[in-house]
């Protein structure tokens, strides 16, 4: 029978190997800030359905795909295997935060990991509903449609297979757009929680987590 053991418990000697990186790799940092910027701009600045809005949505989709691929092919600390979702461990970690003494982990802590999966799931919903609402139109197609309407020629928008759209189609589209907005607001709410989490963790762990996601020094 296996003896119970504590994984990744920080100790005076083993600390270096069980600490998160002092600087995340470029792909992790690029996808993190790229998605953060795209989400904030689309939620608060760009006009819904505009070329900029659609372009940023596609950019976020590309970055999300990139991060998921990196979760399989990237360095050990960026892989999914380093931060599998574990609600029980996340709960334990949050209770440890209250006591001010936390275990250290080689990748994201279990609460942070759950936050990441919640982000990805919400983002996937926002992207999927956005794609549905635009009929999967690429930014290039949106630009072409805009140019056609601006020039006064509406015939370019007519699709061969397009019959008269039914009332149900329009109702479903409204519902999808409602989901798009709710999921986007959820992303903003998660982002606020995430910033609070980074602040608290940085204090309790006595590590500058912001530096690790920006331009910190890479230490072994």
């Amino acid at each position: 029978m296996a003896t119970p053991r504590t994984i990744s418990r920080a100790s005076a000697s083993g600390r270096a190997s069980t600490s998160p990186p002092s600087l995340w790799d470029p792909v992790v940092r690029l996808t993190h800030w790229g998605i953060a910027a795209a989400v904030l701009l689309n939620a608060l600045v760009t006009e819904k359905g505009s070329l900029t809005h659609v372009s940023l949505g596609w950019l976020a989709m590309a970055l999300l795909v990139m991060r998921v691929v990196w979760g399989v092919l990237g360095p050990a600390e960026a892989r999914f295997s380093a931060f599998l979702p574990n609600p029980a461990a996340a709960w334990r970690h949050l209770r440890q935060l209250l006591s001010g003494r936390v275990d250290h982990y080689p990748s994201h802590n279990p609460a942070g990991a759950l936050m990441i999966y919640a982000f990805w799931a919400s983002l996937a919903v926002v992207i999927a509903t956005g794609l549905y609402a635009t009929g999967g139109a690429t930014p290039m197609q949106v630009a072409a449609d805009n140019a056609a309407v601006a020039s006064g020629d509406w015939s370019a928008l007519i699709k061969e297979s397009d019959g008269e759209s039914s009332k149900e189609d329009s109702g479903l589209r409204d519902t999808i757009l409602e989901v798009h907005e709710v999921a986007a607001n959820l992303l903003l709410f998660l982002a606020a929680l995430h910033i609070g989490g980074v602040f608290v963790e940085s204090r309790v762990m006595r590590r500058n987590l912001l530096k690790a996601m920006t331009f910190g020094d890479r230490r072994k």
Binding site: G49, A133, T134, A137, A148, L157, I158
Partner: protein
């Protein structure tokens, strides 16, 4: 009694108020000039046409209520496909 009278008045005048705006299925045209004229005649002053999800979105102002409206036109048939009040 007075309330009943007012209710009947409100209900009977409702279709007239609705008739002041274009309705789903109305033919407004497949080019901007025709559609602009048709929408203005129906009581919505067009400010701009935009493309949205394969439809033409006419941004117009309801002349009766001064509210911003979005009228979606099917570019193939020239008919109104959907009407929405602008949010925000």
């Amino acid at each position: 009694m007075k309330l009943k009278f007012l209710t009947i008045l409100a209900l009977t005048s409702l279709p007239m108020a609705a008739a002041a705006m274009p309705a789903v299925g109305d033919m407004v045209g497949t080019d901007p000039d025709t559609a602009k004229a048709a929408l203005e005649k129906a009581g919505c002053t067009v400010n701009d046409f935009e493309a949205e999800d394969g439809k033409i979105e006419a941004k117009c102002t309801d002349t009766a209520t001064n509210k911003a409206m979005e009228i979606y036109i099917d570019p193939a048939t020239g008919k109104v496909a959907d009407i929405k009040a602008t949010e925000d």
